[in-house]
Subunit: 228 residues, 2 copies
């Protein structure tokens, strides 16, 4: 029938070899389409038109592949201008981080829980910590500020990507007709939980946290004598 055999023409790319870029891209698309639970190496293989086992030639395990996806998203976080005041830098970096994760809401659940002890993960943590160090926080107040901001970002983004509206449901959710009897206050607050309010809520919380971190600040003993 109409099979051109071995024709090394321009269209001969029909089955171009796998490479990491194609695998990563397809993996992210698949995770976002089907969710983390339904992602599998076998399904990824099918999507790439290849046996699942071929992927192992490029990544030695699913864990390695997922690490590469973490790297890929971390590299998309835009670094803020380091000459800005620290609060401005912290705000920009927080928003950039959130923006990347909200673009990949299902993968976000993996990434937020993942230990950042790869090379790129450590570099990312360092870029946040340096904001506080540059601002003159000492190690204790810097570490504390780093953690508190991190807690807020982690919780907020987790909730936005996997919270009440999007997360896995109870096996037997309460039918809407009964909800008002059990949780009248939650129902009353309901309109302000809608996604139109997420941005305003996130920003309000971020300003609240950043504003207060200023007060936590204790200066590091300065060597150059430029301190107090």
């Amino acid at each position: 029938v109409l099979t051109k055999k071995k024709a090394p023409s321009a269209e001969g790319k029909r089955r171009k070899p796998l490479d990491r870029e194609r695998i990563q891209h397809a993996a992210l698309v698949l995770v976002e389409r089907d969710g983390l639970d339904d992602f599998s190496m076998r399904r990824l293989g099918k999507k790439l038109g290849v046996e699942a086992m071929s992927i192992y030639h490029h990544y030695p395990s699913k864990a390695h592949l997922f690490d590469a996806l973490v790297d890929r998203l971390l590299s998309q976080i835009e670094a803020p201008d380091a000459t800005q005041p620290w609060k401005e830098r912290a705000r920009s970096l927080s928003l950039a981080y959130r923006a990347v994760l909200l673009r990949h809401p299902r993968f976000a659940q993996f990434m937020l829980l993942h230990r950042m002890n790869s090379r790129s993960g450590l570099a990312w943590l360092e870029s946040v910590a340096r904001i506080f160090a540059d601002a003159g926080f000492d190690a204790e107040s810097g570490a504390r500020a780093f953690r508190i901001l991190g807690y807020y970002l982690m919780g907020a983004i987790m909730d936005e990507t996997a919270g009440y509206k999007r997360g896995p449901s109870a096996a037997e959710p309460v039918p809407p007709a009964e909800q008002a009897a059990i949780a009248p206050t939650i129902i009353a607050f309901g309109p302000y939980f809608a996604s139109e309010h997420w941005e305003a809520t996130f920003l309000a919380g971020l300003e609240l946290v950043l504003g207060e971190l200023e007060r936590l600040k204790r200066r590091a003993p300065s060597r150059a004598g430029g301190g107090e």
Copy 2:
């Protein structure tokens, strides 16, 4: 050999029938021992001395069983005295919630991500929301305060149970010898990330958030005329 057959004696309980209580208890022990990823209905069956399929007679699916575990832990949260000032109530409830989850650090990762739309889940959310409603927050500022506090708690507890020290590692972590070169600030902050500091960091963040939520507060229009 020494098998007493069908002896309906007091010791005949050797193989007492399954019940929900035994299943739940064994499931929690197994999750905490082996982790969520290595938990399976088959392993739970083995631990109970029973075929995995017997469990399905008591819970129709793994999802239903896990919902029951969520209920069980929610019921362990001690409700604070409702006559206290709202900040005191919010602080007590936050600490009670955290205490329960820290006692079950591996199951916490499931519970924190789980949609609270079961009967007990909604009741739990309601008990938090009511603190703000009772304090006179209107729906908008109440909803916002509820979320911001929730973000902080979720992130903090997630990090304490699945963060840098305990979470799933990268497939190829950076060897310690290289860490200082990549992330000097993180290494400098390191001592204050240790678990001895978790409590102080959590409390500092909690006070920071609760203190600022006070300012978010806008009064609900009061019907009884007892307002401003």
